[in-house]
Amino acid sequence: MSEPVLDISGLRCERDDRELFAGFDLHIGPAEAVQLRGPNGAGKTTLLRCIAGMHPEYEGRIELLGAPVAGERLLFVGHRPGISGLLSAADNLRWHLDLAGWRGADSVVTAALTRVGLTGYDDVPCQQLSAGQQRRVALARLALPTAEVPLWLLDEPFTALDEAGLKLVSGLMADRLAGGGAILFTTHQPAPELPGLSTRWIGAAA
């Protein structure tokens, strides 16, 4: 087995005096995708946030490519879209590029919006898009050049997407896997077909 991208061992986390998981191990190698499954409230989101460094109250070891996790080396799409409803899709994506300090042309924004099937919607304030369209804007980040990081953490990415949207997004995920990235994602829906996909259950007793 090649060196894992994400390496978690002995992770333990509790919330409100309830233990969510303990002794949790997970190793994801390059070009591997893991679907995290478990009932509502099992701790899937909490686990992703621990990995992303946004939930520091855990015990155990989390390493990304052998080093402590740094926000710039992963891409996190959470329950909250990370998209401002007052700005247009293009402005939102442009800002995501800027955040990574990315010097480059605006054309990649248009390209990303096209990849998620939003051609022509780039200058509408996101507030005025439908739920699925908003979700697509959030996921268009996966098609930006700044998404070429070792690890993607996607928390229920398929919410509100129709079948076409689901295909587009799983296509983006497959591309990333082909590029050697690792993906950890959650969904309650049937997972799409992806190469190197495995399933991991968490806290089966909610």
């Binding site: 992303a52 946004m54 996190f76 990370g82 401002s84 700005l87 800002w95 800027d98 990315w102």
Partner: protein, 234 residues
């Protein structure tokens, strides 16, 4: 000039991107640039109405009134400063990805200042005129505002960042922040009053300048640390 991704991320792009975004959010249309200006005129009008319309009384109060208007304007937008970003998840992304977080924080504070402190500073001679401020006090007042309002915005930013995830927003925030504003208020007012009594206002202005340069370098770190905490809770 598409740079390859592997190239060093640009700090300037990070800063400029955040500033551009925040200004877009503050001023959707150029016509909205007038709003902060009009706001100050309205606020200043309240004092002759509420306190006393006599020119003598007003001219004594003028620096205090302008400074209190500055505090008020800073306070008003404070609650929304990070709240909306937290609710829609963009704050999360900023904390995760911005490297260093310091830069977008500075940009955000700069944008807030451009809606509050800057218009007030520019309007100060006009408003001072409306309040019968002594002419020789105008420049010191403007300088004081130019140096002091950034400090207000930064200190306010600390409060806003600390309360970003909380239920009790407005009042607690004001309570946290107002006591910290006191030295700025005092120094700013006294510069103008010294000048209007014919004395040299350099002392308080120098203090303000020192405070401003310290605040600009140090306070964004406190804001960034507070934002990290605010994001964690979510």
């Amino acid at each position: 000039m598409t740079a390859p991704l592997a190239s060093e991320p640009s700090l300037w792009v990070l800063f400029r991107g955040q500033l551009r975004r925040d200004l877009k959010l503050a001023f959707g249309q150029p016509s909205e640039l007038a709003n902060p200006l009009a706001f100050f005129v309205v606020v200043i009008t309240l004092f002759p109405l509420g306190v006393s319309p006599e020119p003598g009384v007003l001219s004594g109060m003028a620096p205090g009134v302008l400074w209190i208007a500055a505090l008020l304007a800073t306070l008003l937008g404070l609650e929304a400063l990070f709240r909306r970003d937290r609710d829609d998840g963009t704050l999360e992304q900023m904390v995760l990805r911005a490297q260093p977080l310091y830069l977008p924080v500075v940009a955000r504070m700069l944008a807030h200042w451009m809606v509050t402190g800057l218009p007030l500073t520019l309007l100060a001679p006009l408003l001072g005129g409306m309040l019968n401020l002594a002419p020789e006090a105008r420049l010191p007042l403007m300088l004081g505002l130019a140096l002091g309002t950034p400090v207000l915005v930064l200190l306010g930013g600390v409060g806003a960042a600390l309360t970003v995830g909380l239920r009790t927003g407005g009042v607690l925030l004001a309570l946290l922040v107002l006591p910290l504003f006191v030295p700025v208020l005092i120094l700013g007012v006294s510069a103008a009053e010294l000048a209007s009594s014919g004395l040299d206002p350099a002392g308080p202005l120098l203090w303000l300048a020192a405070g401003a340069s310290f605040a600009i370098t140090a306070v964004p770190f406190a804001i960034a640390a507070a934002l990290r905490i605010g994001v964690e809770t979510g």
